[in-house]
Structure formats: structure tokens, C-alpha cells
Subunit: 164 residues, 2 copies
Amino acid sequence: MSRTVHTAALEPEAFAPFGEVIEAVGEPDQIINRGMCGRYHDLAGLDFTGDGARAGISLFQARPRALPYELDMMERHPQGSQAFLPMTADPFLIIVAPDACGAPGTPKAFLTRPGQGVNYRRGTWHGVLTPLHEPGLFAVVDRIGDGPNLEEHWFEEPYIIQAP
Amino acid sequence: MSRTVHTAALEPEAFAPFGEVIEAVGEPDQIINRGMCGRYHDLAGLDFTGDGARAGISLFQARPRALPYELDMMERHPQGSQAFLPMTADPFLIIVAPDACGAPGTPKAFLTRPGQGVNYRRGTWHGVLTPLHEPGLFAVVDRIGDGPNLEEHWFEEPYIIQAP
């Protein structure tokens, strides 16, 4: 079985099984501020479970990676969705996988365009945050709360994520 | 009375009466992903009131402005905090004011550094979103819900916001 996965451009349709692409495309839902601003409204399905769990804003700063990228682990958060909003215009790498009996199935990899973020649906297998450029800075909207909310799966043999 | 307001660099202490500066400074609260990522945890006081109100992620795309900027109106959201997270590294202009008997008092203006976002506390008087560069794209975490959540105040004479 090939362990090579080629990246694709991030598109909402292909990403839909895993969550939402957060981007400003097409006509805005509302024009506000006397015509000076478009609002693209409520783009992510925030979903947090567990006693007292709530949405919060954190920042993640991650070291840039490069392609080809060796994917040896994926993780998921059973108690909450997780949105990544880049604070620069640089593309970043997104890796997700369907669930296959409690482990990640074959991964899919996407490269974002400037202005695209993502929201991983609760329980979605995904790779750790992989910017491709400095400073690797992202706003993250995820679950704030107690209790275990991380599952990791290590592959016996890594996948290699490559450009198309 | 002077109607000129000079911008200052955005610093958490000066901004504290109005909300939080969302930025990755100092040591992260957690190191995750085997040392590859720092998490600056739960940086904003999200606060939404009213039946069924909840946090949501929207995108705002606003036309860039320039300094000097004529401030003729400020607004506030009595039912919710509002966070602005720039999706580019460009600085933007922030204008806030203390409340003075139901109207904005003398405004304060701040210029962000790359990597800084803000969260306006619920009910804080602020100017509309004023990027200084294209594409003027921001992720916004604010209140999703019904009911009136906008108050506007128009100044008889505008303030002029200027560089220091």
C-alpha cells in the first residue's frame, strides 16, 4: 500500500466530511459599517461537550515544516471542535483522516490559500498544526474545560505528504 | 476642546479597561506537539448574554482606511464581547472609549503590531473595523443570537485620529 499522500488545494466540498473551511468567498451575508465591511456570518460549527466546557480563544505558535512531510501521528479531540485561523497570509498544511474503527483511515492533505482557516469537527482525526512559514502563528477557537480531550494514534509506518 | 487623538502602540495595560490584547508574548502556557508548538491559553473573556446566545466565528472583510482618520461614530454591543483576529500580519487601527453617561467619552486610539488581535469587552464603545491595508480580512468571534445588540453614537463634531 502506498504511504504517499499528495496535497490538494483546500476546497469546502472535499473538506466537508471533516469540518468547515472558514473563508470569505462570494457575497457576504451582511454589509455593515455603511458599506465599508462585509460580514461572512457564523462559518464554523462550534461544538463542545463535557461539564462546564466552553469556547475560548488561544494562540498557537508552531515551528514551520516543509514538504515532503513525514506524518507519524494523528490526533483527535473527542470533546470539542477546533478552529485554526492563520494570523498571516501564508498557506499552511492541513491533514485529516476519516475514522476507521477507532484509528485514522487513509489521510487526506490540503494546502490553504491566503485567507483560509478551518474548523475541525469534534472527533475528527487531524495532524498537528503544520505551518510552512514563519512565524507559524494561529488563533485557535477550541474547547476550554477539564477532562481528557486528546487521543493520539501513532502509525507503524509514517505517511509521506508531498506536493502534487 | 481638542478633537485630535494620537495613536499609541497597543499594549495590554493601556487596553485593559476595554478588553484583552490577544497576542503570543513571553513563555507559552503549554508546549504541545512534542515541543513543536506553544499554546497561549484562553486569552479572551468571551461573554454573551440573551436567550440562546452563543459564540461563533465569522469573517469580516473591510475596506482599508488611512491616517488621519475621521471618527464620526462609535458603537457598542450590549449583549456580547467581540474579538478581532487579523488574518494578515498588517497592523490595524483600534479606537475605543470609556462610557460617559451612555455615550462615548474621549476616544483612545491604538495601532497593532503584527500578531496582535483584540477582544472588546461586552458593552465597550469602539470604532468600526479599520484596517490600514488590503485585504482587510479578520476572523471575528462574537455573539450569534437574536435580539438587538448594536448601539451607535454619532458625534456632532468628528474626532481626528492621527499618528503620534
